[in-house]
């Protein structure tokens, strides 16, 4: 309680504390403080997840050790969808409230989301070969994930092609929001169509159909991916703030004061 009051008191012109961190100037140091916790969590969770994945989880009865790709494949695929939804969310907020920081957040998320989509596709191909006998098929799950990767690339390319950042933000937001319909399509593709890709082993509605240690390893790796993604997006949003607001006083003061941490 006292926390919110004091932050409201520190915000000179805004009467409402919820929006205190909605400006780049106030969000920049907060993002900086969150960075190390994110990196440490990501590193520790990755080590724990890899240990469980390779040394605790047993060899699969039907797939042998090829299944161990799951510990990056599934977290990467989840993150590629979550990051896309987060990006579309920030774009929508930016369009409605016309806030600079929202668009910066969306822009900062895109490359990391694209990386997760790429990793999901890459590891999926390398898992498909030993289990299905092929690196790639045009099945609904694989195709919709590939479209997700292209949506990320399209968003980034469009933003890069427009010089005025405000127009670039709005044009990119259109792609991000319209493309969001693809996310439920990816998620439900294994139910709606007859796919070579297996159905979900873990779902929101039913008990998981995997061994507990395998599931644990996967979930720990998923948490690691969350921590990494938040860290990477925060670094990038800080860089974007400096780039876009470089002629403002607060950025000039911040950089000339030689803050390596803030």
């Amino acid at each position: 309680m006292s926390e919110t009051q004091s932050s409201a008191a520190r915000a000179p012109s805004s009467g409402f504390s919820l929006f205190y961190y909605a400006s780049p100037q106030t969000f920049f140091p907060l993002a900086g403080k969150l960075l190390w916790p994110c990196w440490i969590a990501a590193a520790l969770l990755t080590l724990a997840g890899l240990y469980i994945g390779f040394f605790v989880a047993p060899t699969d009865a039907t797939q042998g050790d090829s299944y161990r790709i799951i510990f990056i494949h599934v977290p990467a695929a989840w993150m590629s969808m979550v990051v896309y939804l987060a990006m579309a969310f920030w774009c929508a907020v930016g369009l409605v409230f016309n806030t600079r920081l929202s668009f910066m957040m969306a822009t900062a998320l895109a490359p990391t989301g694209a990386i997760w989509a790429f990793v999901a596709l890459w590891t999926g191909a390398l898992w498909g070969k030993p289990t299905w006998g092929t690196y790639w098929v045009w099945d609904a799950r694989l195709t919709s994930e590939l479209i997700l990767f292209f949506l990320y690339c399209g968003y980034m390319a469009l933003q890069a092609a427009i010089d005025d950042p405000r127009r670039a933000d709005r044009a990119g937001a259109l792609i991000a929001i319209v493309g969001a319909v693809n996310v439920p399509i990816i998620y439900f593709s294994v139910k709606w169509w007859n796919t070579l890709h297996q159905g979900a082993s873990v779902s929101l509605t039913a008990a998981p159909t995997m061994a507990t240690t395998m599931l644990t390893g996967m979930l720990v790796m998923a948490l690691a991916a969350w921590a990494y993604t938040i860290g990477a997006a925060l670094v990038r949003v800080r860089a974007i703030m400096i780039e876009r607001e470089r002629s403002t006083d607060w950025v000039r003061k911040l950089v000339s004061n030689g803050d390596s941490k803030a």
Partner: protein, 65 residues
């Protein structure tokens, strides 16, 4: 313990190529992103420092004139 020896571990039950290429490329992509991020941050800061220095020279010139 799943593995009798290090070579068993690297072999991954005959699936070593698929497993290690998956993990290796993922690690490489993440390393690439981290390097790109730190370089972008440095570049952004350097740009601001350059702008500030240019402005200072500019205003000194105006002061003398």
């Amino acid at each position: 313990m799943n593995w009798e020896s290090a070579s068993h571990f690297w072999a991954m039950g005959g699936y070593g190529f698929f497993v290690w290429t998956s993990y290796g490329v993922t690690a490489a992509v993440i390393a690439f992103e981290l390097i790109a991020l730190s370089r972008r941050m440095k570049r952004a800061r350097a740009q601001v420092k350059r702008d500030v220095a240019l402005d200072r020279i500019e205003s000194e010139k105006r002061g003398r004139a």
